[in-house]
Amino acid sequence: MTTATTSPRTADAPTGVSPRSRPAPRRRPRADRVYLWFLLPTLVLFTLSITMPAVMGIFYSFTDSVGFGEFNFVGLNNYLVMFSDPAILSSYGFTIGVALCTVILVNVVALTLAIGLTSKIRAKTALRTIFVMPMVVSGIIIAFVFQFIFANTVPAAAQALQLGVLEESILADPDLAWISIVLVTAWQAVPQAMLIYIAGLMTVPRDVYEASAIDGASAWKQLRSITLPLISGFVLINVIIGFKDFLGTYEIIVGLTDGGPGTSTRSVAMTIFSGFDNGDYAYQMANSTIFFLITLTIALIQLRLTRGNARI
């Protein structure tokens, strides 16, 4: 959906310019056609690989299909059963909870880093590069590395330092395992949010700070009354895009806890995916349809909110 928010604008910009420089009215539609050709490959691929499978999936959610062979229509049965299935309900609770926690953590850390990295410090470029690195590592690799850290390094260190609580791996504790997922997901997601914040901070004019400094505003006051209001659009983008992404968390959980201990860290995406290989195809299609509606709603809210904000 993010592409939908930006692409009309980028496509509009040149056409908006051309009539001013060349007033000839016949030129406009011709230029548009060229841009349409640019859109075509993406449109075809998007339709074939995203829209069509999605529509087929929704169709199958009203059947009893196991993914192949014959099937019957069962109406809304899959949906009705789903809403009373504790496994599915708890996976929604878990996923939404983790996404909320991660979004808060990511934005606090990313904004702090971004403010630090846009201030006058040494080795800024080198530090930025270091902080962006987690972005280029594949999620499953990150998950396996942290799995080792949580299972071995942290307990060993805790034993050496006599920290009673951490001596047992948090991955093995059904009440704490979710924290590891929040931490690792955040570790991977911070760089992207940080880059958006750095871009946002650069849009704030320096003279505003100078003026406030003359008026005697403290750094904290500047942050609260100048920086945050002026980059509020970027905060919004980060929160909504982040939340949407974290709802789909999959590989980090697979690598860290694989849904365990017990079923304490099973996300919606894991539940859906397990249905595909386990003959629960139609049922999990119903699940993914509901999941799709939830993400769609969030995307629509994002569209609405960001459209109202002219700054971005």
């Binding site: 009893d64 196991v66 993914g67 192949f68 062979g69 019957n72 069962v74 049965n77 059963v81 299935d85 504790p86 496994a87 499953i140 949580f150 299972a151 071995n152 307990p155 047992e168 791996s169 991955l171 093995a172 504790d173 059904p174 999959y250 590989e251 697979v254 694989d258 849904g259 365990g260 201990p261 017990g262 079923t263 304490s264 099973r266 894991m270 995916f273 397990s274 249905g275 595909f276 290989d277 386990n278 003959g279 629960d280 049922y283």
Partner: protein
């Protein structure tokens, strides 16, 4: 290997899709040429090189048929597209059973005659939901699993292999007193809990096949309060399992399969509840390790001892295959006694033919007697449709979640699934 990763990674899945697309393209090219192509799906990692060799030999001697060894395609995707492999050779578990149940496999009754499967092993197939009137699957290889133990540690402490439950507890107690970890457990990998502790404890205590037959007969009336239920039947064996689990090393909850193999190979514990698939890795880590095997005793009668088995490989030809005749030709080649026996010897597996030779590996010879008199069972973890996260439940039980509540959840899941199949039927 008997375990199957609970969820294939997204990458493997996409790779599978790509593989299927590629295979579709290739088979399209092949039609009209001289040799007819057969896609042979076999993905047990340890056996890939072995079967690669067999496919080559087959291609050299067969005329008009060329087998292509496919080790990575996604099965579900293949069937969903109506383009499954022509011949499958995979672990027989619920992933395969659901295709069988739907009638997706062709009838191999004639070849089953040639394969001369031992009746006790044929029973293993029939313990799952089958497609009426059809031989959908031909067993190829069977693995037997029990408790692996370190013979040196046992000898050092003057311990005998236990044959009753109380003897087993005595052995554990003696080891603990001597400062040796009795059992190495790897709770971080849920499948190891399900296939080891849970399957051995339940299988050693009750007739698993009969239990599931009764459970299925109840249909949608199943549930925690039904006459036959997980809550009623599994509670006692699983309580015993928790007694055994308590003899595990500290920090078992954060140890995985790989850690377990290393630790057990290095003699860090006396016993390890894993299958023969771990023996290869253990031998690589410590070639001098003296490993023996015994069935986990769960009763006070040594006559009750049984080993856990699974059909490690079974063959099938999908209805949707366009190359059924050539696929059957390849199947016929694979079940020739020389080929099948050589494979099973090489892979620490037991043959499935009536006259299959005894296993030669010294470590497995203690299990031959049990296999011969069919003192074996298929694990309870393998009899539950995979849409119920049983392995995770097993992990929950050993890491401190309530046994009673978990069994209740399991009963409710089972009943919900039964009700759903009922309305769908």
């Amino acid at each position: 290997m008997s375990h199957v990763a609970p969820t294939p990674s997204r990458r493997a899945f996409l790779g599978g899709l790509a593989g299927v697309a590629l295979a579709a393209g290739l088979s399209g090219c092949a039609t009209g040429r001289g040799a007819q192509e057969v896609s042979f799906h076999q993905s047990k990692p340890e056996a890939i090189p072995y079967f690669g060799g067999l496919v080559q030999d087959f291609n050299q001697q067969a005329s008009g048929v060329r087998a292509v060894h496919d080790t990575s395609s996604g099965l579900s995707a293949g069937f969903a597209r109506g383009n499954p492999p022509d011949l499958g050779c995979l672990n027989y578990n619920y992933e395969i059973v659901r295709f069988q149940e739907q009638g997706a496999f062709s009838d191999l009754a004639d070849l089953a005659g040639e394969a001369r499967i031992a009746p006790s092993i044929q029973d293993l197939i029939d313990q799952y939901p089958t497609y009426p009137g059809r031989t959908s699957v031909i067993p190829y290889s069977m693995m037997a699993a029990a408790v692996l133990y370190n013979e040196e540690i046992f000898a050092e402490h003057d311990l005998q292999v236990p044959t009753t439950y109380s003897e087993f507890l005595e052995v554990c107690g003696a080891l603990e007193e001597a400062g040796v970890t009795p059992v190495y457990s790897t709770y971080a990998d849920p499948w190891t809990v399900a296939q080891g502790l849970v399957d051995y404890s339940v299988g050693g205590r009750l007739d698993v096949a009969e239990f599931f037959e009764q459970l299925r007969a109840q249909g949608p009336d199943a549930g925690p309060e039904a006459p036959v239920s997980f809550s009623r039947t599994l509670r006692e064996p699983l309580e015993k399992m928790l007694e055994i689990a308590a003899f595990s090393q500290a920090g078992a909850a954060s140890r995985g399969y790989g850690d377990g193999n290393v630790a057990f190979a290095r003699g860090e514990a006396a016993m390890y509840l894993q299958g023969p698939w771990a023996l290869g890795e253990i031998a690589t880590i410590n070639p001098d390790a003296q490993i023996g095997i015994f069935p986990l005793p769960m009763t006070e009668d040594p006559e009750d001892l049984k080993v856990r088995v699974n059909l490690d490989l079974a063959l099938w030809v999908p209805e949707a295959s366009n190359a059924q005749e050539p696929a059957r030709e390849l199947l016929r080649y694979l079940i020739t006694p020389e080929i099948a026996d050589a494979y099973n010897q090489d892979n620490l597996a037991f043959g499935v033919r009536e006259d299959a030779p005894a296993v030669q590996d010294a470590r497995l010879q203690d299990l031959q007697g049990f296999v011969d008199r069919a003192a074996f069972y298929q694990g309870v973890s393998q009899a539950i449709p995979r849409t119920i996260p049983f392995e995770n439940y097993a992990q929950g039980i050993v890491t401190g979640q309530s046994l009673e509540a978990t069994l209740r959840t399991l009963d409710e899941d089972w009943a919900r699934l039964a009700r759903r199949s009922e309305t769908e039927a």
